[in-house]
């Protein structure tokens, strides 16, 4: 469904992602792990078109078509949606307006209403807050809203960038349940996590980035047992 072929992403002269190749099949649940500054967000932003991939710096193929060079909106319109790091909610829009922004490109009113109902079933806390401003929500609710907004775009492939950041263990647990549910409903997932334990627990395949390069990949059940992964990312 998604394939990166020998991707390089540079900020000025500095390469933040180097010769990265990876592939995600329909229905997969993939995690990308790595320390601070490993290039995880850069990878997602390149896929989403927020960061430009220059000519000859590799290829990004989604559903059989090359998408590098397209504007973020065109990529989103194909069903490839990112829920960005740090939530990036619209603080002065109401919860409802935030959700509507997720559906900005959609014309099918009925479908949008259906997505809204589905998102609110998944995150019932938001139901009472529809008219509150985004900034009035608690941290946990904000993360739920960020995910709900992403679902409003009707993703086929959903990329989540560190959704667990700043959440209490209890909320992290709840979040994990919700993410599993989204996957069960048929959405292909890429989960970027610094919290390696969470990523490995949820996903079935993992990629480990170090300094912008692919250091390791494999089934999460194998990665969990890998000595280097244990030492570097699981703290055991």
């Amino acid at each position: 469904m998604l394939e990166l072929k020998n991707l390089w992403v540079r900020y000025g002269k500095k390469a933040a992602v180097r010769r990265l190749s990876l592939s995600v099949n329909k229905g997969d649940f993939v995690t990308i792990l790595g320390a601070n500054g490993a290039g995880k967000s850069t990878t997602l932003n390149a896929i989403s078109g927020l960061v430009k991939v220059k000519k000859g710096q590799g290829e990004i193929v989604f559903k059989g078509e090359k998408i590098n060079g397209l504007k973020p909106g065109k990529i989103a319109a194909r069903g490839l949606i990112q829920i960005p790091e740090g939530r990036k909610l619209f603080p002065l829009l109401t919860v409802k307006e935030n959700l509507m922004m997720g559906a900005y490109l959609r014309k099918d009113r009925k479908g949008v209403q259906h997505s809204m109902d589905r998102a609110l079933t998944l995150f019932p806390d938001l139901k009472d807050k529809l008219n509150a401003d985004g900034r009035e929500l608690s941290g946990g609710q904000q993360q739920m809203l960020a995910i709900a907004r992403g679902l409003m775009a009707e993703p086929e492939l959903l990329m989540l960038d560190e959704p667990s950041l700043g959440l209490s263990p209890l909320l992290r647990q709840l979040l994990a349940e919700r993410i599993k549910e989204i996957h069960r409903e048929g959405v292909t997932l890429i989960l970027v996590e610094q919290n390696a334990r969470l990523g490995l627990m949820l996903a079935s395949y993992g990629y480990v980035l170090e300094n912008g390069e692919l250091a390791l990949q494999g089934k999460t059940s194998d990665l969990m047992l890998d000595e280097n992964v244990k030492k570097a990312y699981l703290g055991v």
């Binding site: 504007k71 973020p72 909610l89 619209f90 829009l93 922004m101 900005y104």
Partner: protein
């Protein structure tokens, strides 16, 4: 108390400042720049109305519309030809400052430097007992109210309004969900500068017109949005009213000292509330 006429003049000036300020707020919110040529778009709007009436002979409202549309087009060219090719807010600011001289010079060459005036475009007055108000002034106030209502409806109840507010607050997320920030910037530049032109056009029949009339409204509307809160349209309304009345009512009592009062007030407001009276994002 100053006579009613002074208050009405204050209101008229407020209206021009507010309409200008709305445009500056919109442009600032989406493009992240202060457009220093806003005052010259105001001046050009006044000239378009002047020539539309005197040379072409079309009615005032159509002339006003023409001013908005022509200057909107011009501002889109300015964005495409100049602003888009310069990186860094500071450098864009300097470039638009340079355009002040370009437009003032070009207007002087084309239209001449001497004052022009439009006589009695909307003749007649409404008698309110102890004083009267001309239709021309009523038109200015009504026009400004209509602009406010249109902007309010556009921002709060339309798709493009939602996109404008979202982009002002969080441009990355807006573009992730499909807003073309590039296209929106062009639209907003056109609307914002078109508003400046219509502000100049609507009050053109009340004042003299020459290539240099843009400077003071530019400074006043800039101050209005700074004290109101960069990015807040409510702030632009309040700031515009404060400055319009300061300029007329306080000037009535204190003459030139009123400008000292004005700047002291701005400094005091910013010392107490550095973010301006109404905070900082389109709402």
């Amino acid at each position: 108390m100053p006579p009613a006429g002074i208050w009405i003049d204050g209101l008229i000036q407020s209206c021009a400042y507010m309409t200008m300020a709305f445009g500056m707020v919109l442009v600032f919110s989406i493009l992240g720049i202060l457009n220093w040529t806003h005052g010259q778009f105001y001046m050009l709007g006044a000239f378009v109305v002047y020539y539309a009436i005197t040379a072409v002979g079309i009615p005032f409202p159509l002339g006003l519309l023409a001013a908005g549309v022509l200057v909107a087009g011009l501002s889109i060219l300015v964005k495409k030809i100049i602003i888009d090719h310069i990186t860094g807010d500071l450098y864009v600011g300097v470039a638009t400052m340079g355009l002040i001289f370009f437009f003032e010079g070009a207007a002087s060459m084309i239209f001449g430097m001497q004052d022009k005036g439009l006589a009695r475009v909307l003749p007649g007055v409404v008698d309110l007992g102890s004083f009267s108000v001309s239709y021309q002034k009523i038109a200015v106030v009504s026009f400004t109210l209509v602009i406010m209502i249109i902007l309010f409806i556009m921002l709060n109840f339309t798709r493009i309004g939602l996109a404008i507010r979202a982009t002002a607050q969080q441009p990355d997320a807006a573009s992730l969900y499909g807003v073309s920030v590039e296209r929106l910037s062009l639209t907003v530049m056109g609307i914002g500068c078109g508003l400046a032109a219509m502000a100049g056009g609507i009050i053109a029949p009340l004042y003299t017109i020459n290539p240099f009339i843009g400077g003071i409204p530019m400074i006043m509307s800039l101050l209005a949005i700074v004290i109101g809160g960069l990015g807040s349209l409510t702030g632009a309304i309040v700031g515009g009213l404060i400055l319009g009345f300061l300029n007329s009512v306080v000037a009535y009592h204190l003459s030139y000292l009123s400008e000292v009062v004005l700047f002291m007030l701005v400094v005091i407001i910013l010392l107490v509330r550095p973010q301006g009276l109404f905070g900082a994002s389109v709402k």
